[in-house]
């Protein structure tokens, strides 16, 4: 397959899914965010958000830490180094693909 046509196939499909792309884009500019913040910014339901975060966590792209702020439980999510690298690569590849098409 020519390299031009192979480009879309090389795209990281885990990140390419719109909800997960929005999540990684947000997490790329913040240090960490909690579940409520991510839910409000993405407009996802709790169940959807949990499921997408679980997929990203499984791939090692995000780290989920359960902690407390005072007595309130807090689920903190942050992009791992692998996640940041994958997002950067996805962006570069997708930009290149759009420029060629």
């Amino acid at each position: 397959m020519p390299a031009d046509l192979r480009a879309p196939a090389d795209i990281d499909r885990l990140i390419h899914e719109p909800a997960r792309l929005a999540l990684t884009a947000i997490l790329s500019v913040v240090d960490s965010a909690d579940f409520l913040y991510l839910q409000r910014e993405t407009g996802l339901t709790k169940g959807n958000l949990s499921s997408h975060l679980a997929k990203l966590e499984e791939a090692g792209y995000v780290a989920i830490e359960k902690t407390y702020r005072g007595r309130v439980p807090l689920t903190l999510v942050r992009l791992t180094e692998a996640g940041a690298a994958a997002f950067k690569a996805y962006r570069a590849r997708f930009k290149k693909f759009l420029e060629k098409s």
């Binding site: 947000i26 790329s28 913040v30 240090d31 965010a33 949990s50 359960k66 807090l74």
Partner: protein
């Protein structure tokens, strides 16, 4: 298609949704206004004036510390329970950028000092100079985060500074008036943003055991 840049910009803007940064910064400007007013009111050469001048660094440093505390205190009580917790990356400026900022700051400071020494009548222009310099700073922030109300604040800074000078209130009194008026404008902008934010973002119902934190 997902607009990545828009999402990233929106995440940065979310930090300013509650107006708390403006309220804190506006209070610092009001404090500066009060400081310059006291300096103008106390006769030159008086020991109080010397003490006040020496306190300037302390005022600046303590206001930086208080702004941080103020924002953290209210974000914990008002913002995080409503729209969630978010911490932004602390970007240390690169040595090149830091050097460039120091050079630009030095050039501006030295130019103002030289102009002032050459022509003491420039004191009359102090409010306008303050207004225009702060307008540029606010404009840079507005450009970075893309919030319309920051463009309005940049314009307000320039207009207030020039208007105070045009009204013939120069020197320290003019500077204190400028900081007082601009501080009030920034606080009002922040309070308006806060009211809108509180109306739009009611506290969510407490989570049951099946909530996200039970994962």
């Amino acid at each position: 298609m997902v607009d990545i840049e828009k999402i990233e910009k929106r995440a940065v803007q979310s930090f300013y949704d509650d107006g708390l940064n403006e309220i804190a910064l506006g209070l610092v400007f009001l404090l500066l206004g009060g400081y310059f007013f006291a300096q103008a009111a106390i006769p030159e050469g008086s020991p109080f004036n010397a003490v006040l001048s020496a306190l300037f660094v302390l005022v600046i440093l303590s206001s930086g510390f208080l702004v941080n505390r103020f924002i953290r205190f209210f974000k914990r009580r008002m913002t995080y329970p409503r729209t969630g917790y978010v911490a932004f990356k602390k970007k240390e400026p690169s040595p090149k950028r830091r050097a460039a900022a120091m050079i630009v700051g030095g050039i501006i400071g030295a130019s103002l000092a030289a102009l002032y020494t050459l022509s003491p009548s420039l004191k009359a222009l102090f409010p306008a100079l303050n207004g225009l310099l702060l307008a540029v700073a606010v404009l840079l922030i507005a450009n970075k985060i893309g919030l319309v109300r920051f463009y309005a604040l940049a314009a307000a800074s320039a207009v207030i500074g020039v208007a105070v000078t045009a009204a013939g209130v120069g020197d320290l009194k003019g500077v204190s008036l400028y900081y007082g008026l601009f501080g009030a404008a920034v606080v009002i902008s922040g309070l308006t943003a806060l009211v809108v934010y509180l109306r739009r973002s009611p506290r969510p119902e407490p989570e049951g055991p099946e909530g996200p934190d039970a994962r």
